[in-house]
Symmetry: C2
Subunit: 155 residues, 2 copies
Amino acid sequence: MFTFRKTALAAVLIGATAGAAFADSHGNPAVKARKQVMGLYAFHLGTLGAMAQGKMDYDAELATKAASNLAALTSLDQSMMWPAGTDSGSMEGTRAKADIWSNFPDVAAKGAALADASMAMKEAAGGGLESLQAAMGPLGGSCGGCHKPYREPES
Amino acid sequence: MFTFRKTALAAVLIGATAGAAFADSHGNPAVKARKQVMGLYAFHLGTLGAMAQGKMDYDAELATKAASNLAALTSLDQSMMWPAGTDSGSMEGTRAKADIWSNFPDVAAKGAALADASMAMKEAAGGGLESLQAAMGPLGGSCGGCHKPYREPES
């Protein structure tokens, strides 16, 4: 349903410029959905990170809510949000490298690491500021674990 | 942290036009987050609705995945996504009526109805097309149950 591919050949046929050679992600529900999931990770990580860094007063209840939401979000089944042909080489508006689709077992492992680190944060967040801070490193590391190999640098 | 209020008085003081008299929602993380949650509801409801209407072949596994994700999303704690001052009378870029904040017990009941209908869909979606279709009515009704009283019409 959500697969969406424009080939290089099609781009040549329509005489497109380099910029328009790619399909646009805006109309692709799957790409939009995965960006919304990432946005919601960031929203909750923002709260936890602000507390960890002392930019916001530690609040055990709010920290637990944010971490619980994050754990639920990282446990979503994202298989329908990553259809073939939605990589950065095939369309505009995504930084998802094609390597994601050729290294799927590794990508799944990175996702599982994020879910595990989020679950650990859910357990830790309400246990005091130091407990939250200790869980923050592995959680941030699990974000980078996928972004470093599989996300294009910001252009 | 995420509360954000511009008063009518402030608008008068800065001599703003009607359009600029409101704060803009784009910089407000809470408004962005709740829109992302709604977007993810829509993404999964789109799959379930397309199957229910025969626009997409029934697929028990995919239906169950979509419904399970929806159930997880409707169970998120949204309390940090609806800070005071983020209603349509206080800022641009949201259709959330101020009545939400003055009728909170009712709003919470509407949210619980959505979560219940989503859980029922999670149970039903994999049990055949007719089972999915039967769960669709109450689920759609629960969306309208909140949107009708509490969301501004599209302008």
